[in-house]
Amino acid sequence: MQKIGVFVCHCGTNIAGTVNIDEVVENAKHEPGVKYVAEYPYMCSEAGQSMVQKAIDEHDLSGIVISACSPRMHETTFRRAAARTKLNPFMLEMANIREQCSWVHKDKEEATNKAHALTRAAIAKVHHNTPLFPGESPVTKRALVIGGGIAGVSCALDIAEAGFVVDIVESTPSIGGKMAQLDKTFPTLDCSACILTPKMVDAQFHENINIHTYSEIESVEGFVGDFTITIRKKARSVDMKKCTGCGACYDKCPIKKIPGEFDEGLGMRTAIYTPFAQAIPNVPVIDREHCLKFKTGKCGLCETVCAPDAIDFEQEDELITEKYGAVIIATGITPISLDKFGEYAYTSPDVITSLEFERMTNAAGPTKGELIRISDKKKPKSITFIQCVGSRDVAVRSKTYCSKICCMYTAKHAMLVKDKYPDIEVNVFYIDVRTPGKNFDEFYRRAVEEYGVNYIKGQVGKVVDNGDSLWIQAVDMLDNKQIKTKTDLIVLATAIEPVKSVRNIAGMLSASIDTNNFMTEAHPKLKPVESPTAGVFLAGACQGPKDIPETVAGAGATAAKVIGLLAKDKLITNPCIADLDPYYCNGCSACEKVCPYGAISYEDTEINDHGKKAIRRIAVINKALCQGCGACVVTCPSGAMDLLGFSNRQITAEVDAICR
């Protein structure tokens, strides 16, 4: 029989305000096996914890129940406290009487009764708890960063500086990401390329960093500290070692009219190409879908002109398998598709997204920084910016969240236009202007006050392309007037969303993802750069809309967490894992089939069957791989398989206690 101590927390008035603590204490005293009951205003405080520790020693307690907040909040705290005594920390359970009781019920009597029932269930469970001992697993001192944008690059640099090897996997032919496409950055208006490219070069030449561009994650195995990841390096058709980056190949390439991804389709590229001048690595790639050689077998001009003989039409995808201790997801965002926004006439060449506008105002962009209407190459006399296109919108085509960066970049765009061409009329239709951030509101006000950008509170209902100009029907809500006017160029502040591939990547890493495909943090406030899956970390806008400073700051935080992990030689593993009673196992293999981690195998094992030795084919659990989900336990009809910490008896005892 256990000797159980029950500790009931008031949590100030958080619990005590709704739950009659005295009654919970009194009731707990009468539960079987309960030897000691105490209450305290803040059990998680230093004093509260010592109280628990003291009681364990003084009353020789073998099991502890803490009736307080959610175990997700403080189970670790209390188990650590218990570990400082002679008690095994896994002899402690929590009853969640705050989040799942006092905070959700108003009636004091009901809440008190429930607090009692939950405490009772925890006591019943503890009766069947057994001491558990965590195992150890090794840490591979190498990190993998998925995504070579500003988040991935700066995170990789920080980790590499700490002395660990980092590999970056980037799906496009160059690192740099969305930031490389931008012209100026808010609120300082410094040139994006000027601050990004030095970092890219640093990453390229850092002895601890390996960059795999034009590559994707093929498969993931393993777990924190010990991932085995296979990377598919797609065939570039150009030998990275031989290429000097001279550019003769793309100068000669006869296929010149492919809408360039980097220029958002506004500029054209060749079939063999580097996405942009400062690309890293500065090695072209052949787009096999468009290349004549691949389509028809004829051509091969690039091969002819390539002096170092780097062109390799035969090149095949290469699979690289490597071990990593930590993985960082930094896959970033992309603008949403505007196919379903017919009312904004996006099909018109003179209606563009903000990212297209970035390319257009960029001196290295398709128009060499000149602002023109794509349709007739004329300079626009008036530009209309429409904000919140697809953001804060519950329709299927849209995103319900605020994309966060649009207010600021629209102010930036408006300002850039006015700065270069003071004669152009600039109108911005907005719902709200959101500018929290250092020097952000000042920046927006400058657009209005110094540059004369016309901000109109209202939205555009319909855009009509008349050929020579665009016609809009909109509303000015402050004037309560409908506006029907002509404009020459429309820029849509398009909502951003995570890149599509992140779902697959998250799936392979079993990291969770929210309904918008943004990565979920282990805790939104306290663990903001970790995914709930151990060893998988997050950086940049894959977590949610972020601007550049926020992304870089976050990437630094991610790096710190990764360094903290890689600095360890061994990891302590979760002891709540599957546990087999070999005597009962009949070797049917059902558990093996459902294990998501491949942690179960079957071996002929010598079994002691009532004193008789017998060789039987039974399940064997790999304790480092098992994550403790319990799929095998329920699959096993005989109950040979059980789960430590959530055993059949423990859960049954909880059910019984609750239903009493």
Binding site: D393, V394, G458, Q459, G461, V475, M477, Q482
Partner: protein, 132 residues
């Protein structure tokens, strides 16, 4: 503000619309083909309802001006559906007092004599819209 009174609740019931979802973006008014004709504008329907000023809504001209073209419904980013609100106000109005002076069945033959091309559909809609 979210005033509750009988009429306001009735509008909420009839329309099935959630006025609190509105974020005052104005896309309804920007889309409305009858905006200029209206005294109370589509984006204001919501404010009237939130204020509980249903009498004013029932007495406004807009209830006869809305064409039920559903442009606002289609484009509303918050699923508030202003057309449903104004339709609910119109229903309340004609339930209280049908606008018999607008059209009566007796007038139909004369109308048809004037313009024999008038489709039945037009008459049917008009009766649905104006008469109890």
């Amino acid at each position: 503000m979210h005033i509750q009174n009988d009429y306001a609740d009735q509008i909420r019931l009839i329309s099935g619309s959630q006025d609190l979802k509105c974020m005052k973006c104005g896309r309804c008014s920007a889309s409305c083909p009858q905006y200029e004709e209206m005294d109370v504008r589509p984006h204001q329907f919501v404010s009237y309802l939130q204020r509980g000023d249903i009498d004013a809504l029932m007495d406004c001209e807009s209830i006869w001006k809305c064409l039920s073209c559903f442009a606002c419904v289609e484009r509303c980013p918050r699923d508030v559906k202003p057309a449903r609100l104004i339709e609910a106000a119109r229903l309340l109005r004609i339930r209280r007092q049908s606008d018999d002076e607008f059209i009566t069945p007796e007038q139909v033959p004369a109308l048809l004599e004037l313009d024999p091309d008038i489709p039945q559909q037009l008459l049917a809609s008009v009766f649905r819209k104006y008469v109890k």
